[in-house]
């Protein structure tokens, strides 16, 4: 599975033998069953993950104590799970990462990643470009979520990011959109009829 990460990097930058050895020696493959938790709410993991197989959802614990789906990660898209809030603030995370399918991730220590940024140009450039690309797309999706009607937003997802709809349970997409599963199903049918 580590080969998948290597090939992703190699699609943009050549991977040196030295870095490849480091990656093999300092990363860990973890299998996560569907509905099992990869990162628990309130933990201080200090780790980042590459999704080699499967998919995950990120939920936030709200002020009123409810869990709300706020993001997704797939082996095909948004495949880095960085747990950014605890990585930067060094405080327990407000998020929970749960597998939506049987999944496999490559776990990397953030402290090790920081050393790799300095030492290996390919990792520095790849991770920076990849994070920025993911952030840009994620922000675009969220601005559409807050700006568009639910129907227009779903149409936008269908056109631009069909993977979110094809690999995420309806209940979870509905939660992400802030609507009931019944309402989601209704809009979905309406869009299908039109298209």
């Amino acid at each position: 599975m580590l080969e998948k990460l290597k090939s992703k990097i190699e699609s943009q930058f050549p991977v040196s033998q030295e870095f490849w050895k480091e990656l093999q020696n300092n990363s860990k493959q973890i299998t996560v069953k569907k509905n099992n938790i990869l990162v628990a709410y309130g933990s201080l993991s200090g780790k980042s993950y590459f999704v080699a197989k499967g998919s995950f959802k990120s939920s936030m614990l709200t002020i009123s104590g409810n869990y709300k789906t706020v993001w997704f990660y797939f082996d095909e898209l948004f495949y880095f799970i960085p747990i950014l809030d605890s990585r930067v603030s060094r405080k327990p995370t407000k998020y929970e990462i749960m597998a939506m399918e049987d999944s496999v991730v490559i776990e990397m220590e953030n402290a090790v990643c920081r050393l790799w940024y300095e030492k290996y140009h390919e990792f520095n450039m790849f991770s920076r470009m990849d994070l920025i690309k993911d952030f840009t797309m994620a922000d675009d999706i969220r601005t559409h979520l807050i700006s568009y009607s639910k129907e227009d937003f779903l149409r936008y997802l269908y056109e631009k990011y069909p993977i979110i709809l094809s690999r995420t349970p309806s209940k979870t997409v509905a939660d992400f959109m802030g609507i009931t599963p019944e309402w989601y199903s209704k809009i979905k049918k309406k869009i299908n009829l039109k298209s």
Partner: protein
């Protein structure tokens, strides 16, 4: 005024002389009056705008021409105004960036930024820390916005990002939150 760009940089990493010479050479100063457009809708401008004074809002323009405020940039926080879809993905932007106050920015092209990332280790470090740091905060605010009620979200902003409440006109903040200015005023009084 370009000294302010240097100050921002030096808050993160020390400035190298060679980089400072290049920065002054490649910076383009742009002054805007309140209400003027910095980055127009549908343009493809691959430049960053470092705000040294003033405030801007980014609006998403729908295909029907509807406009919705989706973000803010200040000289104190989120001080790099950029349409990310153009800058990072090389697309005609779906956004428009407009001055909310009389403002001054320094523009740098993506080509020169990319060159500095490769040529200057400290710039690379600054870029990683500053750009990605802003992305993280942006991500946090967006997640809180979609996950919470308007009242809870306003409490969160007041506690963590008071600048958004102090320097943003109520009308624009209300549009950003997807509520009416009257509703915003009511919530504000309630907290």
């Amino acid at each position: 005024m370009i000294e302010k760009v240097r100050e921002k940089f030096e808050r993160v990493v020390p400035m190298e002389d060679a980089l400072w010479v290049e920065m002054q050479e490649h910076a383009k100063k742009v002054t805007l009056k309140k209400g003027e457009v910095l980055v127009p809708y549908s343009s493809n401008r691959r430049t960053v705008n470092v705000i040294v004074s003033g405030t801007f809002e980014a609006s998403l323009i729908s295909t029907d021409g509807d406009r919705k405020t989706v973000w803010f940039f200040f000289d104190e926080l989120f001080d790099v105004a950029v349409c990310m879809d153009s800058y990072f993905l090389n697309e005609n932007t779906k956004y428009e960036i407009t001055a909310l106050e009389d403002s001054v920015v320094y523009q740098f092209s993506k080509n020169i930024i990319d060159k500095w990332i490769n040529d200057f280790t400290l710039f690379n470090e600054f870029y990683r820390s500053d750009i990605i740091g802003d992305f993280i905060l942006l991500n946090e605010i967006r997640n809180h916005m979609v996950a919470h009620t308007p009242k809870e979200f306003l409490q969160y902003l007041k506690k963590h990002f008071p600048i958004l409440l102090h320097r943003t006109p109520s009308k624009n903040l209300a549009t950003f939150m997807g509520i009416t200015p009257e509703w915003l005023s009511k919530i504000r009084n309630g907290i």
